[in-house]
């Protein structure tokens, strides 16, 4: 396939990313909806804040009462719909890992009932260790702990981080997960991600695009992860991703940005932009983007091989704290508007709950709440 650098192809690319895993879909009017109950994904904008659905840009769409998502923009400041999109991408690896590993273990457990999966190269590796308890343990671990993409602005690098390998996280779950299970799960993750003996954190990507390094890095890393997980995702997760096409789209990111320069959404908000004297007075020779949009500094660096204490307080790419997203089942208060919580029957798995709702950061804070919905992170599959 030879991708032309058109806004239509840019649209198809973003659409395929929005629809990854079948959690959301884009309807005929370009509104992004939850597959679970067809409710529109929304963000609260304006003054006073009102919920508006997110619509994916498309040439020829009708003007209306929505917030248009055009991720290919590099204006200073952050907007809520773009933050939602990057959060969606950043959290997808965790979803993919948990979902496919759960399904694999489920098949392995069913083997005792004559499922016939013994020959499967993945299942056969851990078949002796698979039991119902392991299945329950997987269920107890929130999706975001399985894998999140972080973005290091100073290095323009995106990096995968799996918290399951860190002692601090394990300590938190010591009464819920057996010690031996951690080893098995980490082995499964490494196998699925094809990192060999290395930690998942070895998967990283440094952006070479000056115009939109964040999106470039996150998208490249995500596609890399999807490429590594292509077989187990298809085999167990029943998620088929056309990685080759995504890869081709990636080579045109800059062109896509240029082709959509005309599409001005006007949706940045001041709470996402931390322009202030401190930032503004950074010596002019410094990177202008850093000097103006700033953002909070994470207290530590989640670099490769970092110990568990080093990642405390860090937040994944695209995360929004103290923001109100309207998701499936109501307003997600004080959490991140990531994958949402499909409550009904999503395309992939009717009972799959991503449960990616956090108060602030990965550690040290209670889970957020989804008003009118099942508490996130502990929803049974």
């Amino acid at each position: 396939m030879d991708k032309a650098m058109t806004s239509e192809n840019a649209y198809q690319f973003v659409k395929s990313l929005v629809e990854l895993g079948g959690i959301y879909y884009v309807d005929n009017e370009q509104i992004i909806r939850s597959s679970a109950d067809d409710s529109p994904k929304g963000v609260r904008v304006g003054t006073p804040p009102v919920s508006k659905p997110i619509a994916l840009f498309k040439v020829g769409m009708k003007a209306g009462d929505y917030v248009a998502l055009n991720p290919f923009t590099d204006i200073l400041g952050e907007s809520k719909e773009r933050a939602w999109f990057t959060t969606h991408l950043a959290l997808f690896p965790g979803y993919a890992l948990k979902h496919s590993i759960y399904k694999m273990v489920e098949l392995g457990v069913s083997e005792s009932k004559g499922g016939g999966y013994k020959a499967n190269k993945f299942i056969s590796k851990w078949i002796e260790k698979m039991d119902q308890k392991l299945l329950d343990e997987i269920d107890r671990i929130p999706t975001k702990m399985w894998g999140v993409i972080f973005y290091d602005k100073s290095k323009k690098t995106a990096q995968l981080q799996c918290n399951l390998g860190y002692e601090e996280f394990r300590e938190e779950y010591k009464n819920k997960v057996r010690k031996s299970s951690w080893v098995i799960l980490c082995d499964m993750i490494r196998t699925f991600l094809q990192t060999g003996s290395k930690k998942p954190e070895s998967i990283m990507y440094e952006s070479i695009l000056l115009s939109m390094p964040k999106l470039d890095a996150i998208m490249h890393l995500l596609v890399d992860i999807l490429k590594r997980m292509e077989v187990p995702l298809k085999e167990f997760g029943e998620i088929e991703v056309d990685v080759k096409t995504l890869d081709e789209h990636l080579t045109h990111l800059e062109a896509y940005r240029e082709s959509l320069r005309w599409f001005s959404s006007a949706t940045t908000s001041p709470d996402a932009n931390t322009s202030g004297v401190e930032n503004a007075t950074i010596p002019w020779s410094q990177d202008i983007a850093n000097a103006t949009v700033g953002g909070s500094f994470a207290p530590v660096t989640p670099t490769q091989g970092a110990s568990s204490s080093e990642i405390a307080g860090a937040m994944p790419a695209g995360i929004i704290v103290n923001e109100n997203f309207v998701g499936v089942g109501g307003v997600v208060t004080g959490g991140i508007g990531g994958l949402g919580v499909p409550a009904g029957g999503p395309v992939v798995n009717p009972n799959f709950g991503c449960g990616v709702v956090a108060g602030a950061g990965l550690y040290g804070s209670p889970m957020g709440e989804v008003a009118g919905a099942v508490p996130a992170g502990i929803r049974p599959w």
């Binding site: 204006i75 001041p270 932009n273 909070s296």
Partner: protein, 538 residues
């Protein structure tokens, strides 16, 4: 200067002191008009180019390579997803155009006291009642309703000012003011809350923590009387230039009385570190450049409705029935009847930039005194001869056109050349910066009628079909400074970033303050950045 005499019914033509006339237009149906206000898209490059491209930002933007840079030319763009306005009420209303000629003594008591400052005031808007009796409407002698109230949506003032030189008195035509009038009635036609989004308003009403902190000051629904928005803001480059000038002036104020200068409240060391004070000063500069409420022109308060009876008492010439005209329009324009009007609800480059062209042309045309202009522009131009774009005029007419054909031709030629230059500076770079490729456009602008734009991008053949139509007598539907709450916050946010950066570069650093507020005699530009955690989130 050729003596100007006689007034043509079309409101163009010569000056005649004390003359006044009004034309009432029967209702005409327009398609849904979509407000597509300008949004600021400030990138790191935008700030870099403007703040470092010359001694002042105005100097920087005057350079062609900077002005045409995509991040500068595209810094102000129409919002793709606009706000549709319900035209049901406007489509049923009569509209009007009022013209008044006023002469003021000039240089009284001097040898040149015969010279006069001649002003022509032109206003247009909507009739709130039936201006013509239905019974006599189609008779030869229609009866006009003196109690018909008129709401002004656009006001212009053009002056022929005598300038004194060694060669004598040299009269020049000057556009004194041209503005859209926004009042609270506009709110009822919009599906969501609207705000006056002029630069000063979005900057001062924007709170970094809670969004619009004082939205009451900017909300259209809170306008007790019409607010005037200077129409220069409709031209994207002119708009950006005004932003730069406001910043320059405030920076200049700091520089003029810097550390070695005269101490004043602004340069007082205790205050110089206060970015809020700088911001407030910039907002004040922008306010003067962009808006004014309760504007009075020719004795009429533009922000208030006025009855025909009041107008007659103010301008006796209107008591003469020959000075009140009634124009019966066909219910729909020709292009609309033929189904050739483009649906403004469609979000694509053709519609979005046609909207911008229609808005910008209305201010560019009036800036050079055009009452009518019909032209084509092809950005491809003739590359071999070095022309950047080809410009062809089919028809044009000046608002104050001399009766002598030779003089009229001379004035028109001059105005056209200036118009062409301004077009290539103010509008073409912004359209090209949208990266939709080369384009060709045909524009027909009639000040008392409609603006029709047929914009086609060579790279977008699939978007052809349908022309963009906008009413000029209800010109507030084409304003680019009335925004939704979301756009208000976005624009305020963007300008806040711009102001903070200019302040950081030009003010704080100049006063020997490092990034963390310590006095530093070293080279600030090369000062080491503070050690920061290596992971920065959003």
């Amino acid at each position: 200067m050729e003596e100007l005499t006689g007034v043509m019914p079309g409101m163009s033509g010569g000056f005649s002191n004390g003359n006044a006339c009004i034309i009432f237009y029967s209702p005409r149906i327009y398609g849904t008009q979509v407000l597509r206000p300008y949004s600021y898209n400030i990138t790191g490059n935008t700030i870099d180019k403007l703040a470092c491209g010359g001694p002042t930002m105005k100097d920087a933007i005057s350079k062609k390579d900077i002005a045409t840079h995509p991040d500068v030319a595209g810094a102000i763009q129409p919002t793709a997803n606009g706000t549709p306005l319900d035209m049901a009420a406007a489509n049923q209303s009569w509209t009007f155009t009022l013209m008044v000629d006023i002469a003021s003594p000039w240089l009284a008591g001097s040898a040149l006291s015969g010279a006069q400052a001649r002003r022509r005031i032109i206003m247009s808007g909507i009739c709130l009642d039936e201006p013509v009796s239905p019974i006599t409407r189609y008779s030869g002698y229609p009866t006009y309703n003196d109690d018909c109230h008129l709401r002004i949506t656009h006001a212009s003032e053009i002056a022929l000012d005598p300038g004194v030189s060694p060669a004598g008195v040299n009269t020049k035509a000057i556009i004194r003011s041209d503005m859209d009038i926004i009042d609270r009635s506009m709110q009822k036609d919009a599906p969501e809350d609207l705000y006056i989004g002029t630069p000063d308003k979005v900057l001062t009403c924007n709170d970094n923590k809670s969004g619009i902190s004082t939205e009451g000051l900017a909300a259209v629904t809170n306008l007790h009387q019409g607010a005037g928005i200077i129409s220069n803001l409709k031209s994207p480059v002119s708009h950006l230039r005004q932003l730069c000038m406001g910043l320059d002036q405030q920076v200049g104020l700091y520089e003029a009385s810097g550390p070695l200068g005269v101490a004043n409240p602004i340069t007082d060391e205790r205050n110089v570190f206060d970015v809020d004070q700088f911001k407030s000063g910039v907002a004040s500069e922008w306010s003067q450049m962009s808006s004014g409420t309760n504007y009075t022109t020719g004795g009429i308060k533009t922000g208030q409705v006025v009855s025909l009876r009041t107008l007659k008492s103010m301008y006796p010439a209107l008591t003469n029935p020959q000075n009140i005209y009634k124009m019966e329009l066909r219910p729909m324009s020709d292009v609309m009847t033929a189904g050739g009007v483009r649906d403004q609800m469609i979000v694509d480059p053709k519609t979005v930039y046609s909207s911008m062209v229609a808005s910008a042309i209305s201010t560019l045309a009036i800036n050079f005194g055009f009452d009518l202009i019909d032209f084509s522009y092809d950005s491809n131009g003739d590359q071999f001869s070095g022309n950047q774009g080809s410009f062809q005029v089919r028809d044009c007419r000046l608002i104050m056109q001399p009766s002598d054909p030779a003089a009229a031709k001379y004035m028109c030629a001059n105005a056209l050349e200036m118009f062409r230059r301004q077009l290539s500076i103010d509008l073409v770079p912004t359209i090209l910066a949208s990266n939709n490729g080369q384009f060709q456009m045909h524009v027909n602008y009639v000040r008392n009628g409609d603006t029709v734009v047929d914009l086609n991008f060579y790279d977008w053949p699939s978007l052809s079909g349908g022309v963009f139509e906008a009413p000029n007598r209800i010109s507030n539907t084409g304003t680019t400074s009335v925004v939704t709450g979301q756009q208000f916050i976005h624009n305020g946010n963007m300008l806040d970033v711009l102001v903070h950066n200019v302040y950081g570069k030009n003010v704080r650093n100049q006063f020997g303050v490092t990034a963390f507020g310590q006095q530093d005699s070293g080279d600030l530009l090369n000062a080491a950045a503070p050690e920061a955690p290596s992971v920065q989130l959003f």
